[in-house]
């Protein structure tokens, strides 16, 4: 038997090693550093000196109403955005799930919002929502509805941002569900049809249950990204008016790069990390248990 070389015997370590080192240096180490900093009172504006204050920064952040509002707002935004995207995305997928002239074009159009630069999308929607010159109010006016202030008012800014998120990411769910539908076997549907089931019954009791694992995975993937939504909020409102659209990500960004309160910003980032990490663990458990 030929003695295999060192490289070959250790391939399973050597091949992924550069990627592992890279991720460890650029992700794991910085996250641990953030965790470390969250126990300090470091404020960059007053130099490089800092001291350990235990859980002091945690107490300060957690008792800050601004933080609690941002936390709640993050969940509120995510919940409604993903709920709407899930329903619309699945509905559109079910509509498009047949052979028709122009299906290729329809799928290409669905891709466009997904690859459009989010910052630019936000700015375009700012013009669209502009209370005095925007198309949104013009459309409302022409059908006789009262006009809105959209992102300029604290009470309508979150729904307006949700509209933008729904516009950009609903196609993601649609495309994933369409791919899932394309992979389904025809037999159960045929069998149900032979047994005299109506189209609605087939949809309700055969097609949707079969594609449910894909819908769930698509929704949860979207949920993880929605929790981290940054670009459109930052570009459209910067968290305003006041703090009315400030989510955890935006608040963490401001504490880090506008106020330079590193100790407290680290606490916000650690909490955001665990919120996202918890949801990610959820998705992996779900994927493992449903064997998708």
């Amino acid at each position: 038997m030929i003695q295999s070389s060192f490289t070959e015997r250790n391939l399973r370590i050597l091949f992924p090693l550069p990627a592992i080192i890279f991720v460890a240096l650029l992700m794991i180490f910085p996250i641990l550093y953030t965790l470390f900093l969250s126990f300090t009172n470091w404020n960059l504006t007053s130099g490089t000196d800092f001291s350990f204050v235990g859980f002091d920064s945690y107490v300060r952040v957690l008792t800050e109403p601004r933080f609690l509002h941002a936390l709640g707002r993050t969940f509120l935004f995510t919940f409604f955005a993903v709920l709407i995207e899930g329903f619309l995305g699945v509905a559109i997928a079910l509509i498009l799930n047949r052979a028709f002239v122009g299906k290729g074009t329809a799928k290409l159009l669905l891709l466009l919002p997904l690859v459009a630069t989010p910052v630019a999308v936000g700015i375009v929607f700012n013009l669209f929502f502009d209370p005095t010159i925007g198309l949104a109010n013009f459309m409302l006016k022409s059908v006789g509805l009262p006009q809105g202030l959209w992102v300029s008012s604290a009470s309508s800014v979150i729904p307006a941002l949700i509209i933008v998120d729904v516009w950009q990411w609903t196609p993601m769910i649609t495309l994933i569900v369409l791919a899932g539908l394309a992979g389904l076997s025809e037999e159960p549907v045929e069998a149900a049809r032979v047994d005299g089931a109506s189209e609605w019954q087939i949809l309700r009791y055969v097609t949707i249950p079969m594609v449910m694992p894909v819908i769930l995975t698509a929704t949860i993937l979207r949920l993880i990204d929605a929790l981290k939504t940054f670009d459109i909020i930052f570009a459209m409102t910067g968290g305003g008016p006041g703090y009315a659209s400030e989510t955890l990500n935006i608040m963490g960004f401001k504490y880090s790069f506008e106020y330079f309160r590193i100790g407290q910003s680290s606490v916000i980032l650690v909490i955001l990390f665990f919120v996202v990490f918890g949801c990610s663990l959820g998705i992996m458990k779900l994927r493992a248990s449903s064997e998708i």
């Binding site: 295999s4 070959e8 391939l11 399973r12 992924p16 592992i20 890279f22 991720v23 650029l26 992700m27 996250i31 550093y33 953030t34 509509i95 498009l96 028709f100 122009g102 329809a106 799928k107 290409l108 159009l109 669905l110 891709l111 466009l112 690859v115 630069t117 989010p118 910052v119 630019a120 999308v121 700015i123 375009v124 700012n126 013009l127 669209f128 010159i133 925007g134 013009f138 516009w167 196609p171 994933i176 791919a179 899932g180 992979g183 894909v214 698509a218 993937l221 670009d231 930052f234 570009a235 990500n249 963490g252 960004f253 880090s256 790069f257 680290s266 980032l269 955001l272 990390f273 992996m284």
Partner: protein
Amino acid sequence: MKNKLISTILFYTLVIGIALLVLFPFLWMLSSSFKTQVDIISWPPKFIFSPTLQNYQKVFEEQDFLQYFLNSTIIGTVAVGLSLILGLPAAYSISRFAQKKLAVFILLARLMPGISFLMPWYIIFSRMNLMDSYTALILSHMLIALPIVVWIMTTYFGTIPREMEESAMVDGATRQYAFLAIILPLSGPGIITATTLSFIFSWNNFMFSQVLSMEKTKTLPIAVYNFVSYAEVDWGGVMAAAVAIMTPAIILTMIFQKYVVKGLTMGAVKG
């Protein structure tokens, strides 16, 4: 067959309605980019107007747009290239040796909030005098590209039968040789998917570049964002800039449509 006709008409009405909802921001952006400021701020909004190129002229002449364009291209290309070099062997190993934990470890970079590494990077890169350097920007964008490469290529390598490299190994080739000479040449479609998708995500990235870049390495999304803060009311210029930034990603998507769809839906749908 009257019912059939009605349902066909209803169906196409729905499809066209969906298409219009998807398209209207693009159309509004495009038409506004050819409007004069007077036309843009007129009420009610003008749907018929005499188009002008002055917004594009302004963007490309007054702003250093070509430099930003170049920066985005350099950072995206190098970050994706290096991510392929790191990611392809890693994905091969994950796929062939079923290293699930390792896959999760690398994919965490895709799932975790970028800002939880960005803040420490800011401190570390400042100390190393790497702020506003291509090095810092490329490293940060690699953390966007690498998980995408690994995610897509692990799935792709899984579809290539093991017999492909095993028969070569029986003939005396080493596994690393078989990977380079047999597996990689078979992986064209997967590599195209991974490259296109990770380049687009790097191209569109805002948060990392906003913090780590200044004048020298400024990328397009930052330029577009600054355009708004400098010139709050110059909507025509902003819309022209938005068109300019979206066009390359949209062209890439049109060319590689099949691959982009595959890449975006992979993982949620097995196969």
